[in-house]
């Protein structure tokens, strides 16, 4: 009997948290928005989402097999990447767009750098950036929700054209705030419904998969910037609800591997992403700035971590 006793270093109990449970939580959180995108953009959405996930998972498996490493598709991280990439492409995109994008995200952005936990930028966003640079027309061809999808512009593109105009003057072309809130607008597959994304975000906060630090500072910074420089309260609301801000703040910027681990660092990172997004949207050539802001902050994350090491308990002598 004695020989079978296990002897190991303490602690002897572990929490029931696992990587796959965390990834499953992210998938659950994305589910409402996924269903909404299928409702708004019909079969096209379903097709693109399935292809994107399949491409991500297969790429991961093939890559790991080829390198004779254990295949870890069961941890569900590739599914999350595939789903997020699908969320970032327009519903009108041809079938091969998500396939190429997910393959790039997994192979180049994730596996080339060492796999799970070692990607220095968010793989799904890296995939989107590559697609946007390679096929800009396809990636910015927006359609209205519904069965008879017709070409439209995104609210941000409308705001961009009418930079000088106030919200009332462009009200004829801008969708109502309510439509934007529930997602009945043109845009990428998963970014349209602010409401459902927020519900998913709350679920992640409740499950403690993410903390308030990155999403709240990110969205808060954009809100403040738009209130001051973006033309008032209503324009600010448009900016918060439009584009990928909610999706990016809750689901993309919070990617563990490419965001800081320190508490202070996460706040700086969130504010930085918010500033960049606001600057790109107000002054840049693009109507949308979320992807590039997050990617830029991803690259800065190790540096932020380095300079925000928390003060160790008792580091400064104190006499009470």
């Amino acid at each position: 009997m004695e020989n079978r006793l296990i002897v190991s270093s303490s602690p002897h109990i572990r929490s029931d948290e696992t990587i796959s449970r965390i990834m499953l939580d992210v998938i659950i959180a994305l589910l409402p928005a996924t269903l909404a995108s299928i409702y708004f953009f019909r079969f096209n959405a379903l097709k693109l989402i399935v292809l994107s996930i399949a491409s991500a998972v297969i790429t991961e498996a093939v890559f790991q097999k080829a390198r004779k490493k254990p295949v870890t598709i069961n941890d569900l991280s590739a599914v999350v990447t595939g789903l997020l990439l699908a969320f970032n492409i327009p519903p009108s995109a041809p079938w091969w767009i998500p396939v190429v994008g997910s393959a790039f995200a997994i192979a180049i952005a994730k596996q080339f750098f060492g796999g799970l936990g070692h990607n220095f930028m968010n793989p799904a966003l890296a995939g989107r950036a590559m697609l946007l640079a390679s096929w800009p027309t396809i990636m910015t061809n927006w359609v209205t929700p519904g069965a008879d999808a017709v070409s439209t512009a995104t609210p941000l593109a409308i705001l961009k054209v009418n930079t000088a105009a106030s919200a009332e003057q462009v009200a004829g072309t801008l969708p109502s705030l309510f439509d934007m809130f529930i997602g009945n607008i043109g845009g990428c597959l998963g970014e349209t419904s602010a409401l459902l994304l927020i519900i998913g975000g709350i679920y992640l906060l409740y499950r403690k998969v993410i903390t308030w630090r990155i999403p709240f500072t990110y969205i808060g910074t954009v809100a403040v910037m738009m209130l001051i420089f973006g033309g008032g309260f209503e324009n600010m609301l448009y900016h918060l609800l439009a584009g990928g801000l909610i999706l990016g703040a809750f689901f993309m910027a919070t990617d563990y591997a490419s965001s800081p681990v320190t508490k202070k660092g996460q706040i700086i990172y969130g504010i930085g992403a918010g500033l960049l997004t606001a600057i790109i949207r107000l002054k840049g050539g693009y109507p949308e700035g979320v992807s590039y802001s997050i990617l830029l902050m991803n690259v800065a994350a190790p540096l932020i971590d380095k300079y925000t090491s928390p003060k160790v308990f008792g580091e400064v002598k104190q006499n009470a």
Binding site: R4, I6, S10, S15, I19
Partner: protein, 442 residues
Amino acid sequence: MNLKSFTFKGGIHPPQYKRYSEKAGIEKAEEPKVATIPMQQHIGAPCEPIVKVGDRVKVGQKIGEAKAFVSAPIHSSVSGIVKKISPMDTPTGSGVMCITIESDGLNEIHENVIPRGDIESLSRDEIINIIKEAGITGQGGASFPTHVKLSPPPDKKIDTVILNGAECEPYLTADHRLMLEYPEKIIYGLKALMKAVGVNKGYIGIENNKPDAINSMLKAAEKEPNIEIVSLVAKYPQGDEKRLINVVTGRVVPSGGLPMDVGVIVNNVGTACAVANAIQTGMPLVERVITVTGSAIKNPKNLLVKIGTPFKDIIAQCGGYKETPGKIIMGGPMMGLAQYTDEVPVIKGTSGILVLNEKEAKIPESNPCIRCGKCVDVCPVNLQPLFISQLSLKGKYEDTQKYHVTDCIECGSCSYICPSKRPLLESIRVAKKEIIAKRKKS
């Protein structure tokens, strides 16, 4: 009564598992047939045996003499004949010199075991000497000789004594039962400790998952204006000395410092009980209350056990193993020591015997770090375990100093929370050991 509960930043909420044994009143364990008493049960220098094979010894008789200042003498827990003096396996290491005594079952008390008077008539030095001669060491698990704690250098002004009744380790309930069943002994011991260091402020910190213990201690302390009961939020590692001091007094023990640096001395409630015994009856530390628990134990209990009793005998008294044991731990699941065998004896620092079944004992497979930062969030000392571990695993021990590796209190919260089940604390320990060894060399 409802007290406001206080706590520290960070920490974890592991499942409590206290229900196994929290309702079981303290029972006296059976007399061991053979007691194996190690000469090193404490932090510090080992003791020299002062008896020979064939000698007859009595309960409470000193059998190991402490030669160094940081050490504590060792006494026989049984009456009987010394059978063997040889190196044996103990819970804290193998090849430790042990005195094996065959009990005659008579429990004859040694003539030196006599009441020492009362707190009022004893001087500070007398109390410290009684504690020293009784071989009392910290009962929380670390086993630091208590008299050393009570003798700070003259430049450290002590103004507060805190008793640790947090018992934040899951499973363990020995301190809980002590507070329910012997509250007046704990108060007596605390008053003796307060007198020994010349302070008139004493606190007892208890986690709020033991409301009955809080009430029991409040009642016992009713007539003691200098003693305050502090309710603590049930969170691990609330019972860590520096967390406790911070919560109770608001003071921060400087990095690398000791509680005495902020004028505080912390002792376990079990230690206070041992001090009360040593003064009231003169009996040195020869027995203690331990929790025998875990999924693989048939009838979990809280037992008053004689030092030197083999784990095996105690487990047998708790109905034996319910299922095949996977892991036997001395202490709690967060900081306890896994044992190679159940033949080791109970020592002064044994707060519990925890037996996990094979399923619970299985070491989880370790996955890549996903940088979720949960270890950073929970670290009570504000370390960044993931980075220290990464460096340690690469053998870059020197570099871990930049991340304050030596401030780690080894509570294990990081390893507990890690979703990738990485050996965070294990690798941090390695780095810490390497660095301390190097510092000693130079």
